[in-house]
């Protein structure tokens, strides 16, 4: 039957409902600040939002959006190729290109459509894509549409990438290497110096998704490649406006002049409505703030280290290193759900991640840190996790 394949998911949803838990699609009933809200009837600290710099609730971004919605209206009602290119979109593209020091930028309606659309378009039949095994779902969706040969390399493993490029022989000129700056589930940073070295030795083009690293890494916030000093080795930078920039949308920038031809070949760009001008206006203001206020990144990393060190000191199985994304990994689904619920009841909202969204067969309590978190809020998050241990819901031996 058509619906048989959904039975497992329906059963899982029924189990969650029976336990009065709604970890997926939990409703935020009110936003109090960038780091506080009412979720499922409870006032909570928001520790699962990717709002790394807290700009979703910055008054300057709100004012920019308000002014734009008055000037431009609520939507564009069309794609960029038809009636949906407003001056705001072109201005943001110029500003994104200038931010990265390149000549070409494309703005998309979502981050998902940016990475999916670029990956589906850059490589085609006869080309080869080499992607990190832990790549985001949007990348997997894009490469599947591309028609190219798709080869995975082991996660964050430049030696494995080198081996696979070597196997391509003379065909590396048609190879697209895909990596991410910060990986979204464990928050681990790609070894970009080594990946760039491999690319220099064997050839190929490098596409880097800076979704979680733009705004959070690098001297001026350009991301992991800037932090690693290898921006010249990156052919295409992609990212999102829905994390550090606090809005919604995506981008790809490049030094390659072919970008202007590529733009008109991306179905995810051509056949979807462009972003509302108010969204673009708040994004432009957020981009200005990212450049003007490096102290936001410093505060973010102070908070990240404080949370990571605190969770590690509790003996919890934290992800490999301090990062804006910090995950607690557990083997047991039921225990992880109980922990998620207990955290919410203790006033902390985090993300529950289950396979296949998690990179292994394990379950994650995924925390994302914000520059807008106060020290007291970070300590309250740590205290909520300590409460899990006190309640016997998690022990280091129970963890993965």
């Amino acid at each position: 039957m058509l619906f048989d394949k959904f039975r497992e998911m329906a059963d899982f949803q029924a189990q969650l409902a029976a336990r009065d838990v709604k970890p997926f699609g939990a409703v935020t009933e009110r936003i109090i600040s960038a780091t506080e809200g009412i979720v499922e009837g409870r006032e909570v600290i928001l520790a699962g939002t990717n709002n790394y710099l807290g700009l979703s609730y910055d008054q300057r971004c709100i004012d920019a959006a308000r002014e734009a919605v008055s000037r431009w209206g609520t939507g564009t009602t069309g794609s960029r190729l038809a009636n949906g290119s407003f001056a705001e979109h072109e201005a943001l593209e110029r500003e994104m290109a200038a931010f990265y020091g390149v000549d070409h930028a494309i703005v998309f309606s979502t981050g998902y459509s940016a990475t999916m659309g670029m990956c589906a378009t850059l490589a085609g039949p006869g080309d080869t894509i080499l992607l990190d095994a832990d790549s985001h779902a949007s990348i997997y969706a894009g490469v599947t549409l591309s028609g190219a040969n798709i080869i995975r390399y082991k996660h964050n493993n430049p030696e494995d990438l080198a081996k696979r490029l070597r196997r391509l022989g003379d065909d590396t000129g048609r190879a697209l290497i895909i990596a991410e700056g910060i990986y979204s589930m464990y928050g681990d940073i790609a070894p970009l110096r080594e990946i760039a070295e491999v690319k220099r030795e064997y050839g190929g083009y490098l596409f880097l998704d800076e979704a979680h690293s733009m705004g959070t890494l690098g001297d001026t916030g350009r991301g992991a490649a800037q932090a690693a000093g290898v921006e010249d080795d990156v052919d295409f930078f992609a990212g999102t406006f829905s994390k550090s920039l606090g809005a919604i949308g995506g981008f790809c920038v490049s030094r390659h002049p072919q970008m202007e031809a590529i733009r008109y070949c991306i179905r995810a760009y051509i056949f979807t409505a462009s972003s509302s001008p108010s969204v673009i206006a708040s994004t432009r203001e957020a981009l200005r703030i990212v450049q003007a206020e490096p102290q936001l990144r410093e505060k973010l990393w102070d908070n990240a280290h404080r949370l990571y060190d605190g969770l590690k000191a509790l003996g919890l199985p934290v992800s490999p290193a301090a990062s804006p994304v910090i995950a607690i990994e557990m083997e047991d689904r039921s225990a992880t759900i109980d922990c998620w619920k207990a955290l919410l009841q203790a006033g902390v909202y985090v993300n529950l991640v289950v396979p296949p969204a998690s990179p292994s067969n394990n379950y994650l309590l995924r925390n994302s840190v914000s520059a807008a978190h106060s020290t007291q809020q970070i300590d309250a998050i740590i205290a909520a996790y300590a409460g899990l241990i006190d309640a016997g819901l998690v022990t280091p031996s129970q963890a993965a």
Partner: protein, 80 residues
């Protein structure tokens, strides 16, 4: 023993650690339906094969692979 049978023998040995149900491993044994490999376990199995034969197996071919024999034939094509 032919090269194809050599490949099959390697696949049988590489699968042993993932064969939790102790299903008899034969050419027509299905990786998912019979052995019960998860998508992640399939990828771990593929990595073992790639390292052993020094080949890269494109993800594109996996929809056509159901059995150990299907995979052995693909390995043969990629490792002439």
């Amino acid at each position: 023993m032919t090269e194809y049978q050599d490949t099959l023998e390697f696949l049988y040995s590489a699968l042993q650690s993932q064969n939790k149900k102790n299903v008899p491993l034969e050419e027509d044994t299905a990786l998912v339906a019979d052995i019960g490999l998860s998508s992640l376990e399939v990828m771990e199995f593929i990595e073992k094969i790639e390292d052993h034969f020094d080949i890269s197996i494109p993800l594109n071919i996996l929809p056509d692979v159901n059995t150990i024999g299907d995979l052995a034939k693909k390995v043969q094509e990629l490792n002439p």
